[in-house]
């Protein structure tokens, strides 16, 4: 244990903690500002069209309209899902890992979301 190095380490700690809080603090402030601007813009641009500009959280993930009305797609997909689900029907309690199954190819709109999420789960921790 080298005392000079520990002191140096202390300084680095002080700087590091300061910097990381400063940076993320500034980022937070900027994001608040951007959010405020966005709300102003939206209000000004289309005072009555807010629902369009601020989609429901569910729709927000996907920006564009699918060529099939999601409701119909949902029904069709549900048929397939129900079937595949039956096979995989062991209800696991909050699975910490969800298996990627081949049948995702049939899910349509759910595909990308789930696929990425699963990979996120495994890889995102990096």
């Amino acid at each position: 244990m080298d005392v000079t190095q520990v002191i140096e380490g202390g300084w680095i700690t002080v700087i590091g903690v300061t910097v990381v809080f400063t940076i993320l603090g500034i980022l937070a402030l900027v994001l608040y500002f951007v959010g405020w601007l966005e709300r102003r813009l939206v209000e000004r641009e289309k005072p009555a069209a807010q629902p369009t500009a601020t989609p429901s959280p569910a729709a927000e993930v996907k920006e564009e309209k699918p060529s099939i009305p999601p409701r119909d797609l949902a029904v069709i997909t549900a048929a397939i899902l129900a079937y595949t689900a039956e096979k995989a029907s062991q209800l696991r309690p909050l699975p910490f890992r969800r298996k990627v199954s081949d049948s995702w190819r049939l899910y349509g709109l759910q595909t990308q979301m789930e696929d990425v999420e699963d990979f996120n789960y495994e890889i995102g921790k990096w």
Binding site: G9, I15, V20, F96, I123
Partner: protein, 397 residues
């Protein structure tokens, strides 16, 4: 007959050292954990099996030592380094090429950050920017582990690389260790990925010890929707702000944000998909092989490695504590509108630590949904750790 004796001399079995045997067992253990318990298999399986392969003597698939004291004028340049290594250790094997050309040049960690950016939705952090501070607070674990490592006799470069394990970001750990202390790369990488998959075991007791049931029951109001415009602006702004203030973090943050812009822009879906899938998968393979190939007896089988594994737990635990305690502070300031547990998600390990938080919340109150709120600190933690790595590089690099 001479030919026959020549051949017998090439039997690897005759050159097997005790170190080799131990490293093979270590590798097999990683493979076992990866398969049996699905511990971070995308990394630990390739790392483990590669460790087995490179410890079979005379295979020639990895001939160059990982950490060498290079002459001053050589170490400046990766290409001179390669020429020097060729001169002194012979023709490179496949794994030498992967390690020296792809990992040591930082190509692989940076491309993984690029892919991660394309896979990450920063929406929860944009919707509630104050949660970014929790991503900063969790970095305290990095410094606690660094100071502990210094106290245990590691030098500053090594201590910083060990501390960053607490950031729970594999590529950042590899990026920093490769630059500051390549001799302990295998140990820090294995520690980072191992503990990451142990997050569901490490975090709950700490979270529960630092919070009361009432605090854990706090419900948070629903996040506001985030517009496409905000999501597009986010990576651009973040890149510029951090790039100007901590330039040494710019490569990591920059690649992360380029990837995220690809994702959110909506106009380059092909490239975004490529970043997330084909490029990511290929790079992941090379990362696993490259890191695994550094697990040689001479550099891995030391008391240091055991200490590093121990320090990894310190790092993760103190990062969790840092996040939760800052969460309690924010709870007080906000008048009880913030559930302090979401601070624990500041250690990154996206999205596992956020799920851990949600699970504990559900245990107390099945109707309490704070997963999305925990995702804010969670993704902020990635940025925070990259910033800390930048500070280390600026001061020590």
């Amino acid at each position: 007959m001479a030919t026959f004796i020549d051949f017998l001399n090439t039997l690897g079995l005759l050159h097997l050292t005790v170190g080799n045997v131990i490293m093979i067992l270590v590798g097999l253990t990683l493979v076992y954990l990866a398969i049996r318990y699905e511990m971070e298999p995308l990394l630990l399986l390739p790392i483990g099996i590669t460790a087995v392969l490179v410890n079979l003597p005379l295979s020639g698939i990895a001939n160059w030592p990982v950490a060498v004291n290079l002459p001053e004028n050589v170490s400046d340049s990766i290409f001179k380094t390669i020429a020097y290594m060729s001169d002194h250790y012979g023709e490179p094997g496949l794994f030498d090429l992967i390690y020296y050309l792809l990992v040591k040049t930082e190509v692989v960690p940076l491309l993984i950050f690029f892919g991660l950016g394309a896979m990450t939705d920063f929406g929860p952090m944009i919707a509630d920017p104050k949660t970014a501070l929790l991503g900063a607070a969790a970095q305290i674990g990095v410094f606690v582990a660094m100071l502990t490592a210094l106290a245990l006799g590691f030098n500053l470069h090594q201590a910083a690389s060990i501390g960053i394990i607490g950031g729970a970001d594999g590529p950042t750990t590899i990026y920093l260790t490769t630059k500051l202390a390549p001799e302990i790369l295998a140990a820090t990488a294995v520690a980072a990925y191992s503990y990451m998959s142990l997050v569901p075991l490490i975090q709950p007791p700490i979270i529960k010890a630092l919070t009361t049931p009432e605090e854990r029951k706090i419900r948070m109001e629903q996040l506001r929707p985030v517009s496409k415009r905000e999501k597009i602006l986010f990576p651009v702004i973040t890149m510029i702000v951090i790039g100007l203030l901590v330039p040494s973090a710019a490569p990591l943050i920059g690649m992360l944000m380029i990837g995220n812009l690809f994702r959110e822009s909506g106009v380059v879906e092909r490239l975004s998909k490529a970043a997330q899938e084909e490029l990511m998968n290929i790079v992941t393979i090379f990362l696993g092989l490259g890191v695994g190939s550094t697990m040689r007896a001479e550099s891995f089988l030391t008391a240091q490695t055991l200490m590093i594994l121990g320090l990894g737990v310190v790092a993760f635990a103190s990062a969790t504590a840092g996040g939760v305690l800052f969460g309690k502070l924010m709870m007080k300031i906000s008048g009880g509108r913030i559930n302090p547990m979401i601070g624990a998600a500041g250690v990154s390990a996206v999205p596992m630590s956020a799920r851990v938080v949600q699970r504990i919340a559900s245990e107390e109150d099945p109707g309490n949904f704070i997963l999305m709120h925990a995702m804010g600190p969670n993704v902020a933690g990635v940025i925070g750790t990259a910033v800390v790595a930048g500070v280390f590089l600026a001061l020590l690099g």
